[in-house]
Amino acid sequence: MVIPDILRYFRGSLKVKVQGLKIESFFNMSVAHGISFWNVERISMTEARFNISIKGYKLLKKVLKKTGCQVSIIDKYGFPFFMLKLKRRKMLGIGFAIFLTIVIGMSSFVWSVKIIGARQISIREIEKNLSELGVKPGAFKLNLPVADIENNMLIKMEGLSWIKVKLVGTRAEVEVKERVVMPEIVPDDKPCDVIAKRDGIIIKIVSSKGDPVVKQSDTVRKGQVLVTGVIKRPDLEDRYVHAAAESLARTWYEQSCAIPFQSVEKIRTGRKLSKIYIKIGSKKIQIKNCNISYKSYDKIEKSTKLIDTASFQLPLDIIIEEYHETANKIRTITAEEAKIEASNKVEKSIMENIPSDAKIINKKVNVSIKENAAYAVGLIETIEDIGVQQEIIINGEV
């Protein structure tokens, strides 16, 4: 019954009242003319109500004359009448059209740019370059040459190895892959030395090419040559080779830090005030104001988008500024606590500097207490390969 109903809706139908003495014959004659009715209700001997299509209603005239019945329209349904109503109420139609254009118009702009995958390169720098190429909030979406932008970005930003600009609704999603900076490797055909990249005590040195100049248990300084690429033999001309070696050395990392027993901390008193704004584009409209009477406070700005689905966003934000009153409080910790804290902190900061391929062999943290603070000195010993290749420059030539 659904499809006939839809058809009826688009053709339009009428609810009609028929009055007369020969209602049955009115129906019979109409039916014989090919007119159909539905929902026929007998109200009384001389009256019936029924639904009829617009087309059928127009054909009724002849039958009415013959049977002496009279009809009057009670109600009108369907799309043709809706259009008629709309014609009469022009502003409604115009409003609807404006609404549609606004929705379609607004959704054909880029309203936010999201950058995924940036680690070393700052997001701000990527954003700046993107906006120079046209990907920025407010850009018209339909004529963005995405492929060109991607290419130009790769040319502009050296640090990127791959970029993908995707337009998802009103958001531009920019996915980037950074170029991993290659360690400087001396080409195989160029002569080079192996030098130390940090201080250490050599544990093992195995050269596959070149002559080692240091022995096991030698102490080396940063920059010192470990394996030379210049091979000197008596009775032979000097040869230059591409030196390569595994040079394991014991190295150490040292750091210190201090934790005072007393420190000043900001603590919220629990009292707060708030201001509310609506942000349209870049304009802020204040809705709720208040006087901030606190001497010191934390200001927290929360911004929520009014419409924020994964693919559709509008530049309408509600901004709530919260002012939390704060008071200074002195935090006192015991000497024991300070000691633990200091040693943890020192160890953590040293660990950050140790390369991942280094093997830790010894960890030592000394904590002492002087005056009002705990001092920690941490020393971590590791074994790592400290050799780096460095090109030999022969007589000024490379």
Partner: protein, 90 residues
């Protein structure tokens, strides 16, 4: 009746629907709430509790309560309401 008899037998032998061959009405009833008559020859009487429909074989009289003609066209009459009684008078 000879012609009618022949038509009936022909329909039976040829396994054709009798309502088409014999031009007779086909009545479908759903429970006691809906009744449709195909192949009718017009309304004779229509009231809330009584509907009479003319057909090729005679008059169908349907009595019931709150009878409404759901739709009427040249092929079919569909009526709904509470049907109490169907009377066929040939």
């Amino acid at each position: 009746m000879g012609v009618e008899n022949f038509k009936e037998r022909f329909a039976e032998i040829a396994e054709l629907p009798k309502d088409i061959v014999m031009d007779s009405p086909k009545v479908t009833i759903i429970g006691n709430i809906q009744l449709s008559i195909e192949n009718h020859r017009g309304l004779i009487e229509y009231g809330r509790d009584k509907i009479r429909v003319n057909t090729s074989i005679g008059i169908y009289k349907i009595t019931g309560q709150d009878l409404i003609i759901k739709s009427i066209s040249i092929e079919e009459i569909v009526m709904t309401g509470r049907i109490d009684n169907i009377d066929i008078s040939c």
